[in-house]
Symmetry: C2
Subunit: 421 residues, 2 copies
């Protein structure tokens, strides 16, 4: 392993970090399990990219068959992208029936921001104060984890992210008002500095913000303010989308609002580099007229086939229902652990995106959370952290995660808390 | 077809144009051939993405096998990206042995521009006045085909692109000096407006500029000026790279200069969405310290396997040698046509990236070139146009293109010129 890490640091750079102090050297995956090069088996409780399970045979078959048949780009006509796009947009309301296929969630959000600019004639963007939306130069201006060289540009303003344990405004019930107040201030700043408001962009599950528990209507006041200022709404569904949250196909349905643009990414094709922007026809037209855009790999026949297979498997294997059922079951198991471990300050989540926030002595237990992640890895269960203080265990497994997997997760958490808490 | 085009315009937008007035509705590809849904066969003289031939069985097998085994991201350790990265960087000199894998050439150039910023502390970029480097918000500022909403930003300055028929400076021999003069002016403007020079970014084959015939050393004076001003050199090898030009693996080797950063894309994995940035270790480190960057799909095991298969096939099937041999043979056939068709003003190219520039009555013959592309399509040969006036037939087939393919191309060109010229 030492030799491999040396080669890796030389080739990929010393700052290309791995998960875990002892990195996991992977060899194989199947369903909700991964195996390392020594043959050790891990339960994968973290990876949302293999949405329908690692190496799902129907997705592999779709990729292999299409790759052997044809792979070109959309300057030619091909049925695959049409069949997929029509099936995908049928999952949306609000006239969201136009699509741009790209290769990554970053590319999707990069396009979405320009769509908002083309549609509104404005350039200001409002997001939260603890977020991540991707890694292009333009999109990384939204991220809060690191100030880029040259600092943040003044076209991005932030509203306070909701948070279960430390809610802006002081109470969970008051968070929607606090968020709307933040948006109102941001609008005033963007109008004063000449950018105006092109868009509010949020993950409707506030995944990177620590997936706080929010009620339907949480964003209504903020959205009304953005619309009144001439802006539109971008829902970044890269994490909650495709049924992960169990209650709905999309995060914006859970909060019950109508986005103008939806961006999709990671889980869309089970690991094949596929992402998309879904919007209304008039917004797509404004974008295409305002900016020249063509993506060579976007929507190629293999990408479309892989994504179509994922959509079909979600339906045929009832994975949205599974996410709802197993997620609720697992949250119940975590709540039981909470009765026995004082460090578990909060258990929350929806479907197969849930977790436990750890506090000790009235403070976020960041070091303990990190120790738990390592302990769990050493006990054969992979998960990671989230939240402003990285003190929340983030559990976001493939949606094929079953009740037996949840049992193993809970048993291992129990043993790990016993060992390190 | 009408129904398909209606569905396509509704889903993908009215401005998602296709090649050809009668679009080609594709069903299958193999080697240098494509078949449409009516079973009609086309010789593909245009697509560089299927670099080793459409649906090459070794690439398909590599994708299928790895997709069935494991597909995760580089927060875990996996051997595939190391083996590929080491094999790929072995193809470069100049200490270019660090790599960032991404999903598209656009992402690669988006990263490259930030690397230059991180390394130099400056933000100005110099490129040519007739270029394209990709489609992210940041990278599209370099492109000249459409002024984006809000206009071009003042951190991009342009030097006059070389051109066989209308060389800046008046003569082909004087172009290098004219380009260096343009770079000198751009440097002065960027220093005056406070950006300074972070990078000169060029395709070393000047592909979008119309692939003019250039001698070794063409960029030397311009590069010396950029370096003296504190900037670095980005070679966008998305089009010339991987041996296409026959004489060398990379375009910068043909012009004999040492880039600081090389970007790679389209042909890298024969259509699988894979791209990369190759640079020196200290530039990668500066980038990773200046900007937070992680690409979920970038360098995943399937992408690495697909790219590795392409590299192996290039070697095992001697495709660089083939590009050199068949390219020279095809250029010879085009030069023979030139003796018979006055409209062929110039035949040029290197390896399997060549073409013929059409002029009539002392003017670029744009309409004739367009008519030729349509006529060729109707006769079963796919190619397209390039250059400032779209009056050059651009021929850039899969690198498995053989002499018999070149014969068919030339015979069909002969017939098409006879019909429309």
């Amino acid at each position: 392993m030492a030799d491999v890490l040396t080669r890796r640091a030389r080739l990929l750079g010393p700052h290309m970090t791995t998960f875990y102090r002892e990195p996991v050297h992977l060899a194989r995956g199947e369903g909700t399990y991964l195996w390392d090069t020594d043959g050790r088996k891990y339960l994968d409780c973290y990876n949302n990219v293999p949405h329908v399970g690692h190496c799902h045979p129907r997705v592999v078959e779709a990729i292999a068959t299409q790759a052997a048949t044809l792979n070109t780009h959309t300057r030619y006509v091909h049925d695959g992208i049409l069949e997929y796009g029509e099936a995908l947009t049928a999952k949306f309301d609000h006239d969201l029936d136009s699509m741009v296929m790209v290769c990554s969630g970053s590319e999707a959000n990069d396009v979405a921001l320009r769509m908002a600019q083309a549609m509104t004639g404005k350039t200001g963007v409002i997001t939260t104060d603890n977020t991540y939306h991707g890694n292009t130069a333009a999109v990384s201006q939204l991220n809060t984890s690191k100030v880029p060289i040259g600092g943040f540009q003044d076209h991005v303003k932030r509203a306070p992210a909701p948070d279960n344990m430390m809610p802006p405004g002081g109470t969970r019930e008051g968070q929607a008002k606090a968020f709307a107040e933040g948006v109102k201030t941001a609008i005033a700043e963007l109008e004063a500095n000449g950018h105006g408001v092109s868009a509010l962009i949020v993950c409707p599950y506030f995944a990177n913000e620590g997936f706080p528990t929010l009620e339907e209507g949480f964003l209504d006041d903020a959205i009304a303010l953005v619309r009144a200022a001439g802006g539109i709404i971008i829902a970044d569904e890269v994490q909650p989308g495709f049924g992960r949250i169990g209650s709905h196909w999309w995060g914006h349905q859970k909060l019950n609002f109508a986005p103008d643009i939806v961006t999709l990414g990671k889980p869309m094709a089970n690991g094949h580099p596929v992402a998309a922007v879904i919007t209304r026809p008039e917004i797509l037209t404004a974008f295409q007229e305002g900016f020249k855009y063509f993506n060579t790999f976007g929507g190629n026949p293999v990408s479309a086939a892989a994504a179509m297979a994922v959509l079909n498997v979600i339906e045929d294997e009832n994975l949205v229902e599974n996410a709802k059922d197993v997620g609720a079951y697992a949250v119940g198991l975590l709540k039981e652990l909470q009765t026995r471990y004082d460090v578990i300050a909060d258990v929350r989540g929806s479907g197969l995106f849930f977790g436990a926030e750890l506090w000790r002595d009235g403070k976020p237990a960041t070091a303990l959370c990190d120790a738990m992640v390592e302990e769990m890895r050493n006990r054969g269960v992979l998960l990671h952290t989230e939240g402003r203080f990285d003190n929340t265990l983030k559990i976001r497994p493939p949606c094929a995660f079953g009740r037996a997997d949840a049992d193993l997760l809970a048993e291992t958490l129990d043993a790990a808390f016993g060992a390190v808490a």
